[in-house]
Symmetry: C2
Subunit: 390 residues, 2 copies
């Protein structure tokens, strides 16, 4: 019944553009501050149903709304000028949201801020039954390093974040495999550690002996053609060559010519194909598909989280891929598959089954009761990391 209500709200929003929803009086009063709040801030809060309650002092405002999951919820004002209200129950995990104050869309001053939807904005955590796998624990922790470097391809300074596993600075002779891990559209190089909790996921997996230690490189895959190449018509740009045809092969050149050599020069990597993986979510998954199909000599493992799938036709057109690539990992959130969006290039589960029949090591994972959001991708990384470099 809850699910039916949520789906019908979404349908209303999609047809009508803007929409708003009133919440019934039967809200369970066990709200607690969100774990994604700023230190010491009481709001936003979440209850055991997964409803989000926000509060804002705006004595002179006419209307304040909570905007989360493509639905707007009207808040109500008390006599002291404080607005308060709740959303419908949300899926477990992380969600972006914002407040609307008399027509202005702004971050909630109570939450921490995350980069998504092409802007820094509010985020909230709905406690998940499986949240232990990304919890902060007293286990050995790796480091997340901000690394600034010059990119010849982009003729400018760039930044990536590099996760080094807990023992990286203990045994200074040991070399490690590397995963190149990409964010989604409208996100950036901060997403996988902040929203994705990639560092904590790896620390916990390594502490439990479930994953071999490896380095993770998180760079910015949002790609704009340099000014100097914008005069070349798109029709004259063959895929994989320069000037590139689009965002995927544009980032491919940066990754192959700048990022990988820079990482191999600055970290104790195992720098051969057998010890190199790529994965990404959504747009990052589509980039992973194009880049690994075109470079089976570079990557031995590939993962696409909510970013489509690979068909037998794809690998027939990618010489060496079938023989050299040791893992194809495809994942989705369950409600993405239920409300399947066009453009995924065929049924992803069927595609993955056919890869298995063709003799590839292909895995298909579905995150229970999640959509095109970060809980799907945290769980995907958790599954994928356990299959790498073994």
């Amino acid at each position: 019944m809850k699910k039916f209500i949520r789906i019908s709200l979404l349908a209303t929003c999609m047809t009508g553009g803007l929409c708003s929803a009133q919440i019934p009086a039967s809200v369970i009063e066990d709200f607690k501050p969100s774990s994604a709040n700023q230190e010491g801030k009481e709001y936003p809060q979440v209850n055991s149903e997964g409803r989000v309650r926000v509060q804002l002092s705006a004595p002179e405002a006419k209307m304040v709304q909570l905007d989360i999951g493509a639905v707007k919820y009207d808040l109500t004002k008390d006599t002291s000028g404080i607005w308060i209200g709740e959303s419908a129950p949300q899926d477990e995990g992380f969600h972006y949201y914002q407040l609307n104050i008399d027509g202005a869309s702004v971050p909630d001053p109570g939450s921490l801020y995350y980069y998504g939807a092409s802007r820094w904005g509010s985020g909230i955590e709905i406690p998940a039954k499986d949240q232990d796998f990304y919890a902060l624990k007293n286990v050995p922790h790796g480091q997340v390093r901000e690394h600034i470097y010059y990119s010849k391809t982009n003729t400018k300074m760039r930044r990536c974040f590099v996760y080094t596993p807990p023992d990286y600075d203990k045994d200074i002779q040991k070399r490690y495999p590397v995963l190149y891990l990409q964010h989604g559209g409208g996100e950036n190089e901060t997403g996988w550690t902040a929203q994705g909790k990639a560092g904590l996921i790896m620390d916990n997996l390594i502490a439990e002996g479930k994953a071999v230690p490896f380095i993770i490189v998180m760079d910015n895959g949002s790609w704009r053609m340099p000014e100097r190449d914008r005069t070349v018509p798109q029709s004259e740009r063959p895929a994989g060559q320069w000037p590139p045809k689009g965002w995927a092969d544009g980032f491919m050149k940066t990754l192959l010519d700048d990022i990988i050599p820079m990482i191999d020069a600055n970290y104790r990597t195992l720098d051969d194909q057998q010890n190199r993986a790529m994965a990404g979510l959504s747009m990052g998954g589509m980039q992973t598909r194009i880049i690994t199909l075109a470079n089976p000599n570079v990557f031995a493992y590939m993962g696409m989280f909510s970013g489509g799938s690979i068909s037998t036709e794809d690998i027939e057109n990618a010489p060496g891929f079938k023989e050299k690539v040791k893992l194809v990992f495809i994942s989705f959130g369950s409600s993405e598959l239920e409300n399947r969006r066009p453009g995924f290039g065929g049924d992803p589960k069927e595609n993955t089954e056919k890869l298995k029949e063709a003799g590839m090591n292909a895995h298909f994972y579905v995150s229970p009761k999640t959509a095109h959001e970060w809980q799907t991708w945290r769980r995907s990384l958790y599954q994928y990391a356990q299959l790498l470099f073994k």
Copy 2:
């Protein structure tokens, strides 16, 4: 004349609490997006006078204000519902600010967000004539590492950021001196790299051969007494002992018992007194004063940026300090000294002169035309870093 206007506005605010200011029509129309904007955002902007112009779409709002430097500026609305307006000229450097929408204080959706005033909020950069010393350049860059560790003193997991100099991972036999660098009140462990640009300042100094390479540790000095010790009356807590009397000796125990041993165990440090420095801004400067006076066997260099000074009486009551400490560095912004606030413990310049007369290596630095803000502290670090470990 400009200066007189700004001071009189401040005076009005201080006596009246809230205040607002109207800007004359003679604003110079050479506004450019702030370098602290989110990627691709056109507003906020800054002009050559140092005025800040903000813009916000809020069609239904009655009143929108820019709140910067303890002054509120009313914006005006155009026919499409977009509010726009400017501040008076601001000092060079970084400033926290916020928007007020019908009584709600919120971050500007166009700016990046920084932790200060005990919340994540908007920041803006007024281009400074000397900004080259913290510019992002194509020079060798150090890394800023997020380091998670367990603190026995606080019985919980903590986080610090560690700057390692550019060659740290090249010559893996070399060991480095360490500076422990503290933020101010209402700030946290992110301040020195985000607002303070400590990493870029060091990269540039090292590239020019003006500073010796050293490690910088930036931890959280905001200290709350653990629940278990709150029953002990403050009068029964001798300074420097546990349970501690306040924030300075509370952080002192965390620093001495947890942070320094953790850093020496995990980084290639030179771990003796001669190779260890401490400095901090405002509250962090006051902590540096108390901690280094009490521990001359631990630190050889100390710096207080806008955080008071040290008198000859202080060092007479601190056995070993005069003999063992190789540098006392005291700094302020020029307008802090002009509008001198009470509680600094005597005239800081006179105090520093007396330390020199007593035979100590004492430095006094004044940042031109800046107040109790980050441009003062960036310049202070730039000066201080050149004096360390030589």
